[in-house]
Amino acid sequence: MTDCGSEKKVSESITFNLTLPEFLIAEVFDGIARLDCYLDEVELAVHPRSGVPLRLFRDTLGTVLFASLEEPLRLTRQSTVSKTPLGASEFQALVNQVGSTFIGIAGVHRFLKYLRVPEPPHEIFTLLREIQQAFPDAGIKDNETDVLLSETFNYGEIDLHTAIEWQLQQAKILKSVPGKETIVIILPYTQVNNPLMWTIISHEIGHFVEKYHSLGKKVLGKILACPPGNVTEGTELDWVEELISDAVAIRLLGPAYLFSFASITILQSSLGRPSRTHPSELLRVRVAFNELKRTCLTASVPIATALTTKLVDLFEEKFKFNEKYLGDKYMGPSAVHARPTDDVVALITQELDDLKIGKLSNDSLIRSEALARALAKGQPVSALRKERIDLQSKVESLRQSLSGSTVSQAEIMKTFFEIRDCMIEKPSTCAEIINAGYIHRYQNVLPQILNGLAGPAVNDYVPEHKKTINQVDRLLKVSLQATEIHKLFL
């Protein structure tokens, strides 16, 4: 077999240079447009519900949600033209408005169940299977995890077995339900066609992993300097479990997880306040970024590294603002938050290394960077041929041999088959496809939104952006379909 050489190194400029206000606007605009795309799908159903509720949703989007971005956009344009950053009060106004619009999206989303209930597409399960394959442990590999779409604009996981058992125990009719853990992952309706946000599945699987191996107690025990058995249930344990699940997700899907986490959280008005169940978003981003640097971000993936770093910088910038003007304290009082991020990550990493979970490799990210270029050209990215610099010259020399008579037929055939073998493409993994999707999003789609919104009214750019959303979703889904078929022939 001929050595097909190594993959061509990507040298490309990084085009993601949005400011924080621009990034927030692009993200929230994209969120509303996706809701609009979902309404298009409902409209095309064979038996759509009466047009009345659909019209209500459409009008709400146009006159309320999209329109709410006019003022933040005006402020941002003003700042760009005058080349001066927004003042504190202006920035506060922008953050508040964008945060409110984001809450508005979630509020409208709750009522989508009155239009139609979507089924999860096959490709979600392709991703899920790949994630499960990353675990050497049979208990996780063979778990019959399911995915459900929900009207709640949130991401989560539920162990149905435990939940039903608990309910029946409450009713005092049964002590135990037969069977074992039955994990159901829940995604919002509007992400039905968006493989980029399916990435959250990896975090939810992470919860299953940390529970299965009691990782939370082991890590928190080390932080508190006590045996895992002495660690009690409570907020700090919940926080550590979240951080571990994030770290698992990073191992499985690399930067894609951090990007999806950013989409969900950066629009919130505050990033520094932990809740009873979740640590602060900033700590989560820091832990995830740290884990990324330990696993797959190197100099050989300049685009992924630059985009991730820029994203983390935006988080830090927003937190600094929250800290200064909202009085947010870094992370809140706890042993988890007080410990340096590096230490927390080291403790988590140690536990995860012992489990030998399949990691997204640096090579995979190199491929993702190459695949992102194909996506930008409108091509699906289910596979990639290894670039070989000398292949063209080999082809030319073979063509010359064919027209001459000095080389034997056997030699010609041998060279031909060697070259032909180099045409074979290697299937992409789901993780590679989704990371390519994010690189494309940050390099092209998000900056394009800001250019598109330069016109007089926000609504003017909506149809164009919806086309982009549909095209990228479709490219990614088709890629996931093809890679699954491709793998049958390996």
């Binding site: 091509q379 041929r385 073979l398 063509r399 032909r420 045409m423 088709v478 379909q481 093809a482 022939f489």
Partner: protein, 215 residues
Amino acid sequence: MLSSERSILTDIEIISRLVDGSIVITPLIAAEQIGSTSVDLRLGPEFNILRRAYYGHLDFSHEKGEIQQEVRRYSERIQVKALEPFIIHPGEFALGATLEFISVPNDLTAYLEGRSTWGRLGLQVHSTASFVDPGFQGNLVFELQNVGKVPIELYAGLRVAQISFNRSSGSVQTYGAGQNQHYKGQLGPEGSRFYLDKDFERINLKLREKQQLKT
């Protein structure tokens, strides 16, 4: 000189074009797909079948946007999983698509043909559209029909067709550059977009005028 100006591309010429990126066929799963003058293409996992129970016919006198929606509702997208069959019964018609995304450069035309192996079972992969314009990009659509007497089980990934390339340098209007680009960049078995034809728009207008006169 290896070939005349208008001749069909040979294997090494196809490979040369794949290497320089002017022809794109992806995913290219097996080297054997590249034959002496053609490349075998595989069946993708999506199909479009007609929903005959819901619609009698498409009314060409409706508004363009309405027709567009009716066309989409008229057909149902079916997606098979890996190793799950799509069964095409005798006399049945369905749209399928190549697993491969194809990009044809401006100086070539391409031809899609069925493979004899499947033709012998009664499977036709196209009824009318075998010609691919210079500049086309996207999945090629199969107009699948079972003209045999027994149902045929189809699986995604089967090599059901082949594509060959001819030189056609010099054409001014390439696909996508002119008006005729209804299917540029199509992914999967996209249904007909006849309503985008200029001629159809004319007929549609006349039909609507005629209807208005009646009322």
